[in-house]
Every structure is written in structure tokens, then in C-alpha cells.
Symmetry: C2
């Protein structure tokens, strides 16, 4: 509940920049209206961001009867941000300008079994070097690198505490990466990256409490509650994939049984298919991506096995989302990540129907369920925003002690 | 995210009064430190509360080297608050002074089948009359009545939208009560009442994110997140009792199957007992209270059937709480309501062990699980605080337009 004035100053600076990035050009008056900050505070923060060259003055707009209002916009070329999505089956790296446009992209598949920390670090370092070279950016302009890794992470120490799919325990990931990458590094996990991406650029923009359900190899839920991310006391909130849906059900690599993930993560979907038809040509043993792709094509072709598997999977996803709806009563549920993207609208329709069957009527009626509208990898985008947040925080630390640069924390 | 300045003013006034009630006497300086409000804002709010005679000046304390600091304390006799707990098997009504001490209490059992709205309203009205008479309070000093009813409620309209245990749908409860009770009425549900009671006076005082798990006839979870109550978009968050724990499991009156409540609500516990030993003398058919009481005595006597039933029930509770721990990563889980109180420490020990088996290691290690330390009915206490909040809001509305009475919303 208690925050230092430096925390509040950083949060306000970030909030103002976020609105400028989302809606450029804009005026100080408009920013005051959308953030709830006083005009004086906004003017000070805008002045700071101008001085940092993160935004620029771009002219004036008429205001009804009053003085013309100065307009500001994000200075897209004022710096670059890198987002890294380390997933179970691939590494994606994207380089963004300050308007969060993608300037360069690198993708590498992760071969099964090649997921030791030093192997992953090597892949990431190579891909980061590749996007910087590809974009033709001077290294000095890279403000930071946000790194997303599945499982539980300690943001302060940069340690990947527990990644159940790889059985990583307490891997000092940022320390290992820092041996190869000279830019400031910021660690978090894909649940929170996706949630922030939806809040900034996706379905959750301007909406209330939102749950972003990630459907990939692992699954989880990013919780955007009360206007911010709900992280929990040790930054591990959102482990929806490891909530029990079927007591004494399928064994999970986390040690529990009947976890949501064992039915709706990509390996769980493969098992759903195998249980329905072990000989199905849709099944590509050892290749999740190919199997989910085959299911998507099967759906489009009306293949009855594909339809049955997706319906079966949607029943589990729907019962699990109904739990989120009953417990959290969100305004919005967003389906994100690669499995949701591949199975798309047909999956969404089945999931909606399954949520309706399992949820209480009132909270179900209050919740909208949609697919993520973000066309690129939302994890890279969210990870890049963590790097931006980190850059603003370090600006605050550098300038915090200098007289004349303090920003009023009042609102 | 956006609040009007009147909302902020009311919230700040409430926050200051809450701290004075929790910690009397206290100084303006101390209040500024614990609330994060500026000293000037606190001084204004304290001035208002003094004028309303809700608090009084009680002397001075020395401050190291500076001027003596004026101390204020709650004016216990400055008003009375009534909390009403309408549960499935009883109605409890308590009358409090402004320090939230109980001055009078009325309890009535609700006979099975006698739960039509007009029957319940008659019982509540009689009990409210009884506590006012018993306390010898002038009616004019009753600032309000907080009413808790299970299920989903619309606070703004005073409608009990859905109470699954009674099959109530859209009952205009406050309207019906207002025909008998002349004091301001405020409706909410027991999940939120218990959560607020723990925040103000119980285990959650001064703690971070807390889940208050209510174990009664119905079950649910009050969510105290980010320093406030998480209500959800339609005020129905917390329906943990209607999250699926056993897909396709026991039928629930909500229409779903395998809900947590069907295994751990008092009727679910009776079913656990019946499945284990249909002839058990511990079983009092048609009487939940007597059965849970018999189980508690059986536990104390080492009765193997009682031990087995409580272990079985604790396994379900623990798996359900593990879901909350994995999803929300709270600092604290509090077991509340009458079933938790009756089964006490032996239940707690079994629940802790079951949560440990089902939860992820990291969030489990970060969570403390305790019994509610509140000795009286926490629902009445929480409901009374909703009445207090309502009283402060109406003060704000009455004085809001008068010049010279505006309170700066800055913090």
C-alpha cells in the first residue's frame, strides 16, 4: 500500500509515456484526463520525457475558445527496445522502436532436449545480435532487453526459479545472458508479458479487469486487475495451468495431478487426440507445432476427429476459464499465444459455449471472451515494454538526487 | 482507474477513520505515515471527523524535540452500527459502538424450509429491533445497518441477485427490509464482509494480498488484493465454491458438477461422512450444525471415522486452496466462518498438509495459512464496517456542495 515518492514518480512517468505511445499525437490536457494526474504533474513529466528525447513536440491543436494546445508524440527513433520470448519450442526476438513498431525479428526453433540453460543463452545471444545488426541500430541506442521465460522468475535477481517444462531450478538466467549481451536486461514471464501487451496494444486497452489466458505448450493466466498487473507476493501469480481441474486426474510434471495444463497445453491436446484416435494421421509424435497445425487444417476441412479433439479440449479450457470467471469476475478474457492463434475462431466458439455451461450465470453474462487481436508475438511486445519500464526507472534513479529535477508525486 | 474527487475524498476519510479505529489514540503524523496521505490532507480529514463527533481529541504525546503532537481517538459513543449476517442456517445481528465493540447481539436459527424472503425479512427486522432495545440506544444514533446475504448481490440496488442455496433470484432485499427498518441499509455478501473484518481487525491487518476462505454451508473466498477488496466487474468475485475441482463430479445446485462447495460446504461434509460410513452416529441427517459439532467432538476424542472424514474434507479444501495459491500467490490465507471455527486446529493442520501436496513449491512457501483470530461473528463485524463506509459516503454527499468543506484529494 505504501509507495515511496520515487516509485510513484516512476509509475507516473511510465503511465504518461504509455498513453503517448498508445495515442500519438496527444495534448497535456488529454493526458491529464486519461491518467487522472493533475495538469501540472503531467506538464512536468512531459517536460522530462521531452528532455530524454523519448517524445517530441509536434504542433498545436485548436481547443474550443481557448489557447491552442501543444501536441506531443512519441519519438519513435529516440531509442530501441528488444523483446525476447523464450518458449518451450522456440526463441523469438524482436527489436522495436520507441513507438513499439517491429524493426527486426529473429526466430529459432528449439530442438527437443536442447534446453539446457547454456544452450538457450547461446541461442538468445545470437538472435539479439542478429536483430541489432539487421535493424542497423547503433548499440548505444538500445535502451534495454526484456526477456520472458516460462515459469516462476525473480525479477529483482534475474533468476529463473522454476520452469516446470524444462525442470530448470534457480537458473541465474540474466547473469548468464549478461556475459554475452551488453544492454540492460529485464526478466519476467510470458503470462505477464502477454497481459501487458493486451493492456497497451490489444483487447484490454481501456478495459477493466482482464484475464489473459495463454495457450501454448505451457498454459497460464496473466491477471490485469485494478488497472495494473497482479503479480502476487513472490511474483508467481497466474499459474492457472497448475490449478486442479480433475482431482486425481492426469499426472503433471509439477508433481500434482489433474492440472489444467495436462488437458489443454499442447502436449495435453496431443494426448486428447491420442486417447480419441491413437492412429490418427493428425498426430505428429514429438512435434506439438505440427500436430496443432494439423488440427487447425482438419478443423477447416471439417475432419470429424479434429472437430472432436478441439471440442474436447475446449471443454477443459472452458471449465478452467469458468473457474477464473467465477473467482475473479473479470470484464474481459483474452485467449493468447500460439495454440489460440492457430485454432482461432472455431476454438473460441467452443470455449465460449463451454464457459457458459460451467460458469455462474451472472459473472458469465458480465464477461466478454475474445481472441488476442495482436498480430505479432505478444510476448516479445510485452517483454519490450518491461525493458521500457526498466529504462524509465533507471532514468529516475540517475536523476533522483539532482536538485530541480524532482517530480511532484501529487495526483 | 479514474475516480471522481468525491470518491477519493470519501475513500480517504474512510481510510483515516479505519486507522483511528484500529489504533486509538493516534496522531495526525502517525496517520499520515500509515496512509501515505499528506499531513495537510490528514489534518483536514481529522477536522471533519472531529466535527462529525466520530472522533475526539484525547491529549498530546511528546515528539522527539518537536512540539507535542495532538492525539485523537475514536469516539466510541458517537454512533452505533448494526451488522446482520443472514446465513443458510441462522440470522445473527450485532450492534456495535463506533469502536466496533459489540454492545448487543441477537441470534435466531433458520428452520429448514423457512427461507422465503418475507420470512427472512421478518426475522431480521425483529432481531434488529431487539438489539437496539437491548443496547438502550436511541434510534437516531444508529448510523446504518450492513446486511450480508450469501450469493451474488447488487450493492447499488440492494437486490439479492442469486442465492444458490435458497434458489433466490432477484429478491429486492433492501426494499423489503426498508418497510420494517428505518435506518440506512447497505447490502453485501459474507465473502466480502469476512475479508474486510480480517483486514480491519483480524489476521490480514497490515498484511499484503490475502484470501479469506469462508467455510460454512456455502463456501467462497473474499479477495483482499492490492490493499482493497477485489469485487470484480459485477461485484460477484470470490465464488471459489463454484469453481470446478472434480470435472464431472458431484452435482451442484448451481447447475455445474464437481464444484468445490459440493465437497467442502457443510452439506458436502455430511456427504463425505455418509459415503464413508452411512450408519455413523456422528451423522445428524437434516442438521448440518449438529453433524459438524459431532465431528469436532469426534476429532477431540480420536474417533477414527471423524478423523477420516476431516482428512478427506481437508484434502478437497487443500486442493481448492492450492488453486488459489497458484493462481493468486497471496501472502496470507485465512480460514473463516463456522465450519472452520468448529473444526479448528486439527482441520487447519490437515489443510496445510493438503495445500502443500497440491500447490507449486514457490507460492506455497510464500503463503501463510491461519485460522481467523476474530472471536465474534466476522460477517456481522464486516457488515457493520460497510454501514460505516456508507455513513461516511452520505456525509460526503450532504457536505459536498457546501463551500469551505471541500477536502483536497491530493495525496
Amino acid at each position: 500500500m505504501k509507495h515511496t515518492s520515487r516509485d510513484i514518480r516512476t509509475a507516473n512517468r511510465y503511465e504518461v509515456l504509455r498513453h503517448i505511445i498508445a495515442e500519438s499525437p496527444t495534448s497535456r490536457q488529454e493526458l491529464a484526463a486519461v491518467t487522472g494526474l493533475s495538469l501540472a504533474t503531467v506538464a512536468t513529466l512531459v517536460g522530462e520525457l521531452l528532455e530524454l528525447r523519448m517524445i517530441t513536440e509536434v504542433g498545436f491543436e485548436d481547443s474550443a475558445g481557448g489557447r491552442p494546445r501543444g501536441l506531443v508524440a512519441v519519438n519513435a527513433s529516440g531509442g530501441a527496445l528488444i523483446g525476447v520470448d523464450i518458449a518451450e519450442t522456440y526463441v523469438h526476438v524482436e527489436l522495436f522502436d520507441l513507438a513499439l513498431n517491429v524493426l527486426a525479428r529473429a526466430e529459432e526453433d528449439m530442438r527437443p532436449g536442447e534446453n539446457r540453460p547454456e544452450q538457450v543463452v547461446g541461442q538468445v545471444a545470437a538472435a539479439v545480435g542478429a536483430v541489432v545488426a539487421q535493424a542497423g541500430i547503433e548499440g548505444a541506442r538500445v535502451l534495454g532487453v526484456g526477456v520472458s521465460v516460462p515459469g516462476q522468475v525473480d525479477r529483482a535477481t534475474g533468476i529463473a526459479e522454476y520452469a516446470p517444462n524444462w525442470d530448470w531450478h534457480d537458473v541465474p538466467l540474466l547473469g548468464l545472458l549478461a556475459e554475452h549481451i551488453a544492454y540492460p536486461l529485464h526478466l519476467d514471464n510470458p503470462l505477464r508479458a502477454c497481459a501487458v501487451a493486451e493492456q497497451w496494444f490489444g483487447a484490454a486497452r481501456g478495459r477493466g479487469d482482464t484475464v489473459v489466458v495463454n495457450l501454448g505448450t505451457g498454459v497460464g493466466a496473466g491477471l490485469a486487475l485494478g488497472g495494473g498487473l497482479h503479480r502476487g507476493v513472490s511474483n508467481s501469480a497466474g499459474e492457472w495451468g497448475h490449478t486442479t481441474l480433475v482431482l486425481d486426474g492426469r499426472p503433471c510434471h509439477c508433481g500434482n495431478r489433474g492440472c489444467v495444463e495436462t488437458y489443454v497445453g499442447a502436449p495435453g491436446i496431443m494426448l486428447n487426440l491420442r486417447e480419441l484416435n491413437p492412429q490418427s494421421p493428425l498426430l505428429h509424435p514429438e512435434d506439438q507445432t505440427a500436430t496443432v497445425g494439423a488440427l487447425a487444417r482438419g478443423l477447416a476441412d471439417g475432419d470429424p476427429v479434429a472437430v472432436a479433439v478441439v471440442r474436447d479440449t475446449a471443454r477443459y479450457i472452458g471449465a478452467g476459464i469458468a473457474n477464473l470467471v467465477n473467482l475473479l469476475n473479470p470484464e474481459l478474457v483474452v485467449l493468447s499465444s500460439w495454440v489460440a492463434r492457430k485454432l482461432g475462431e472455431p476454438l473460441l466458439a467452443e470455449v465460449r459455449e463451454a464457459v457458459r455451461r460451467h460458469a455462474l450465470g451472472r459473472p458469465f453474462a458480465a464477461t466478454e471472451i475474445v481472441l488476442s487481436p495482436i498480430p505479432t508475438d505478444p510476448v516479445c511486445l510485452g517483454a519490450a515494454t518491461f525493458a521500457l519500464e526498466g529504462a524509465l526507472r533507471s532514468v529516475g534513479l540517475r536523476n533522483g538526487g539532482r536538485p530541480g529535477r524532482t517530480v511532484p508525486a501529487s495526483r
